[in-house]
């Protein structure tokens, strides 16, 4: 028999940790924005993002993509640590024991509350060892300099770091469709580096996501 009292943990039922009205707080006297755990949050203006792109392009040219990807990896590693601590404390369960669905639900909410846009998972290729993450309304992609290639290098770095930490092995991430190129959403393919090398070449040749995935899985 189910005892309802036993379903409660310390009289509470964990729900949406990242509900934005609860998550984003401020210490007005100190002039700080904080998360509900007291970690510092920052709101950054779009002009700063534009400035970073302009500075990088001027100083590093083509290499700026790699610089952004590596910044993303650094960010993603720390983002993941914070996310893991918050989620595992709140649900009183290690992140590795959570189902993919629950993990993703928390990540989606977190992504939105951080103002990074919307995020979802396309599981169609998971039997072939690839995860496809789709995102919408990325501020970094919207402000990126015009190019013939997908522009979400920062996010690709973040996602590769997040899923590498989660899977416990090194994973790479390649963006195969981009809002800046007129796609309905940004698609990021996550998998082992050696299996994604050919995807990178296909992106360079400007093939679209629907053409890349079957070839990648062939």
């Amino acid at each position: 028999m189910i005892s309802v009292a036993d379903l409660l943990t310390n009289d509470r039922i964990p729900a949406n940790y990242y509900a934005n009205e609860v998550y984003v707080r401020g210490d007005l006297e100190m002039g700080l924005l904080e998360s509900r755990r007291g970690d510092r949050l920052l709101a950054i203006p779009e002009t700063l993002i534009q400035a970073i792109y302009a500075g990088l392009t001027k100083e590093t040219g083509q290499a700026s993509r790699l610089v952004l990807f590596n910044c993303g990896r650094w960010w993603g590693k720390n983002f993941f640590n914070r996310f893991r601590d918050e989620v595992s404390d709140y649900y009183e369960m290690p992140l590795v024991d959570m189902s993919m669905a629950e993990f993703l639900q928390a990540l989606k909410q977190c992504w939105m509350t951080y103002g990074l846009g919307k995020l979802d998972l396309d599981q169609s290729y998971h039997h072939r060892g690839f995860l496809v993450i789709t995102t919408w309304n990325s501020a970094f992609i919207r402000q990126a300099p015009k190019s013939q290639l997908p522009a979400g290098f920062l996010e690709a770095g973040i996602l590769s770091a997040v899923f590498s930490q989660l899977a416990g092995r090194e994973l790479h991430c390649v963006q195969t469709s981009c809002e800046s190129l007129g796609s309905d959403c940004n698609r990021f393919v996550i998998g082992l580096q050696k299996r994604l090398d050919s995807a990178e070449a296909m992106v360079e040749k400007q093939l679209d996501h629907e053409s890349i995935m079957p070839r990648l899985c062939a």
Binding site: I2, V4, A5, L7, A19, A101, Q105, R169
Partner: protein, 165 residues
Amino acid sequence: MQPPFDAIFDEAEHRYLKPDELQEMRQYVFSLKDRVSTYQMIRDRELSLMQQVADQIQYTMPDAELAALERSLKNAMLSLRYCSMGMVLNDPSFVQNRLLGWLSDSMQIHNSSAIDRAVFRLIVQQLAQVLTSQQMELFQPFLNLAQAVLPAPVEEEMLTVAGMF
């Protein structure tokens, strides 16, 4: 349901409240006593009410997985808590913003709509026995919000990242 007052408070520096806004506020304050007593009733009966729902759902759905029943009961308890608070504040957006997006995602992920629907039906039956019709009238609109997000059943398979790579 009356609209929430947030917008009115946000305009404090612009103007004083208009007569119809004051009237709206008076109505809310007038209804607050009933809202709080309804809240208190639900709060005090939460465990016994939900235990009856749990007993009945196990009886009516004996083949359902225990974990699925427990998850649906937890989600229902969450809804009850959020809806009760929403009712005190008379603010549907409190329930919508903080709970419903997350809840409907959660229900879709676990494909539990048959159980969720049955649990909600039982909750409404139980509440009808505990609350007066006037109290039910205050609470029902918020419960309807939660019921409206119960998804249609979908087939989806469970996946773990660790198992993939």
